[in-house]
């Protein structure tokens, strides 16, 4: 019965931000991703969406004229909006030719081109067609992609960018480490693989956004408040959800599936409240980078790295030397033995949930500071957190930190060789390779794996 109350409370808590969020103008025209909707699109006419973006900065480009032709006849002319999108309603299915007017590109992008212009696409019944044009340097108007003959696989790796990528990777890894600790500790003390952990990261990012931009608090006030709220949320979850599931003797796999349900509930609750837009904090955004050697870092990124290191060190210290920290490690090792030695196991687990959620929220705030944030932020980093935790050793806090930093470096440095859109693939591949060759992870003990 207590779960019902817990859920109702949670719904209420989430609804508080509702009216405020609903007032926000919805500028994004992107439909909610992947709804696998049963409802068919209207039968009369088909849709072509054309999106223009700068491939390097990944920014959408507005004000570009786009022409759509069908069998040689122009059937539509539009200019891309603030999201870089031009939408066309076309009367029938078939082959359409889509052409960008590269003369209308903004001045600063005037020397960019696209690989194929005009572009021919086939419109199928009932499926909106989206065509993305990526503006790149070195491509002429309608010319093919530049081809350097005889260049080897490693010949065009931009090594001079390596230090910059390494710094980005370190930053990403340190922030990821904050999130990974909670997942690893919860697993260590309760055996639960919490698939809703990513949503705790989203919680931090979006609640801070709500307090900061919607409620108007400065970020330096909103962020600590968010972390306090996250701690309270962790306590709330442990007290009303996870502890009662344990008391009910719900099996670990059932609890894992429960956590998937919980993550759906939270993730789409965030989508409901905050829409699918990508948000940025108002404070500290768009800072100019400070050149340090061959690397340029904005002050907010330096700050988030320093803060991550300080928090991680403080956490490591308390885990090693304080009474609660020692108790936590004892419970991770052997809960039954810990309980028999007089350690308050439930108390330790409560602390783990509070601290783990607060750290996840801090990582969410810092992710929000260094990149955009939307309702999918946590889910996207969840698999990277898994990769980090498995790499370091599931259930070990120090392993989680080490794994996260390595994963962060790997993700960013791998973009020297592979396309940026595939950078997460490398981290996930490492996850599987680690499971193959050393399933207990770098710092784990082999007996943990059955």
């Amino acid at each position: 019965m207590r779960h019902i109350f817990a859920l109702v409370g949670l719904i209420l808590a989430l609804t508080i931000a509702g009216p405020a969020a609903a007032v926000q103008p919805v500028t994004s025209s992107a439909p909610p991703p992947d709804v696998l909707a049963a409802s068919a699109p209207p039968e009369d006419g088909e849709t072509i969406n054309v999106r223009v973006r700068d491939d390097e900065t990944r920014e959408n480009v507005a004000g570009v004229d786009v022409t759509v032709s069908f069998e040689g006849e122009v059937v539509g002319e539009e200019t891309t909006d603030a999201d870089g999108v031009a939408s066309f309603s076309v009367p029938q299915t078939g082959e359409y030719e889509i052409e960008l007017d590269l003369e209308t590109l903004p001045d600063e992008l005037a020397d960019l081109g696209v690989a194929e212009n005009p572009f021919t696409t086939t419109v199928e019944p009932g499926t909106p067609r989206t065509v993305a044009f990526r503006l790149q340097a070195g491509l002429g108007d309608g010319g093919p992609a530049i081809d350097v003959p005889g260049a080897g696989f490693f010949a065009d790796i931009p090594w001079r960018l390596a230090p910059q990528y390494a710094v980005s990777g370190l930053r990403f890894g340190l922030i990821l480490a904050l999130a990974a600790i909670g997942l690893s500790l919860v697993f260590g003390t309760t055996g639960l693989t919490n698939f809703a952990h990513g949503e705790l990261v989203t919680f931090g990012a979006l609640v801070a956004y709500g307090l900061h931009v919607i409620a108007g608090l400065p970020l330096l006030v909103a962020a600590p408040l968010t972390i306090l709220l996250a701690g309270a949320f962790g306590w709330f979850q442990e007290t009303f959800i996870w502890r009662s599931l344990r008391k009910k003797q719900v099996g670990l796999i059932a609890m894992m599936i429960f956590s998937i349900g919980f993550s759906f509930f939270l993730r789409y609750g965030f989508l409901y409240l905050f829409s699918g837009q990508t948000f940025f904090y108002r404070d500290f955004s768009g800072q100019a980078g400070i050149p340090i050697g061959s690397v340029t870092i904005p002050p907010s990124h330096i700050f988030s790295m320093v803060l991550s290191v300080v928090v991680l060190l403080a956490f490591a210290f308390s885990l090693l030397y304080t009474k609660t920290g020692k108790a936590t490690r004892a419970v991770s090792d052997n809960p039954a033995l810990a309980a028999a030695s007089g350690i308050d196991v439930d108390g330790v687990i409560r602390v783990v949930w509070i601290v783990g959620t607060a750290l996840a929220a801090l990582s969410g705030v810092l992710f929000g500071l260094t990149q955009g944030m939307n309702y999918l932020l946590g889910f996207q980093v969840l698999l990277l957190i898994f990769a980090a935790v498995v790499l370091g050793g599931l259930g070990t806090a120090f392993g989680a930190m080490l794994g996260a930093v390595l994963v962060g470096l790997l993700i960013e440095l791998s973009t020297l060789i592979i396309p940026a859109e595939l950078k997460n693939v490398g981290a996930l591949a490492v996850l599987i390779i680690i499971l193959l060759v050393r399933p207990q992870g770098l710092l784990g003990r082999s007996q943990r794996v059955g």
């Binding site: 199928e124 067609r129 349900g261 759906f264 499971l435």
Partner: protein, 330 residues
Amino acid sequence: MDFGSILDTALGNIFGIDTIVFCLAAIGLNMHFGYTGLLNFGQAAFVAMGAYGVGITVTYLDAPLLLGVVVALTAATVLALLLGIPTLRLRADYLAIATIATAEIFRFVVRSSTFDDVTGGSNGINGMAREFYAINPFGDGTYGFGPWTYSERGLWIRLVGVALIALSLLVTWLLVRSPWGRVLKGIREDEDAVRSLGKNIFAYKMQALVLGGVIGALAGIVLSLSRGSVQPDNYATQLTFLAYTALLLGGAARVWGPVLGAVILWVTLSLTDTVLRGAVGAGYIPTWLMDGVQVGQMRFILVGLALMLLMTYRPQGILGDRRELVLDAR
């Protein structure tokens, strides 16, 4: 609100394409999770093998549909082998993480522009169902009655889908009551006990993974043919977890569990969707509380709630037996 049309839409979902697709995906998961206890969180990858197998063969290689189906089922088998060799020896939660990671790797790769001449990148593949509808035995016209009125295309794809479900159910039913099926259930209950009887656990698990994966690929074939296109983001983790919801709702380790679960899931989702949409449209729900876009998002919030409540109060689902399905990892 027009309750007649709301009911019509809901009843129509009994034979909806989504119902058929998730039913097939869940039958595959039932083989993995229900009977063998394998926590496969990467069913989306197997479904995608079906869709991309057919799509790439038919459009990129310009080969006949039948070859596409063969390629799709082979691809699912190969994926099961590749996935199974490293992960089947691991504990359940590691298997879950490894499979979900594999499914996402596959999706990232097919939607990347690096391979878009083969996979179509984030646009996916279009125009792959022509041959399928060209061999449609039904002439132009509308068929059926009441909520189940379909065009000749709608009837043809549904008929194929239901036939595949029937086939998969028959195979499942025959296999799980055979000695082979009893070994699977034994593995689920106590691996060490079965190993001590001299059975090769790894081989049995692998066979179950391949079989369930191939059934999952059938779901992908039906989904892609019904739409005539393959969209990479349809094969994200939501697909896996919706299929799990269908399976757990109906009851894992029961032949009819996935069917019942998929039908109830989609009828309920359609019912709540149309009722909420009607209530928003008629002004019963103020727009600051919920608008048309947010109605669509309620679907996943409800799925999340359903999973949580099921796992708390009735992990065996509607048809299942609690004693048979003690879900535990260690």
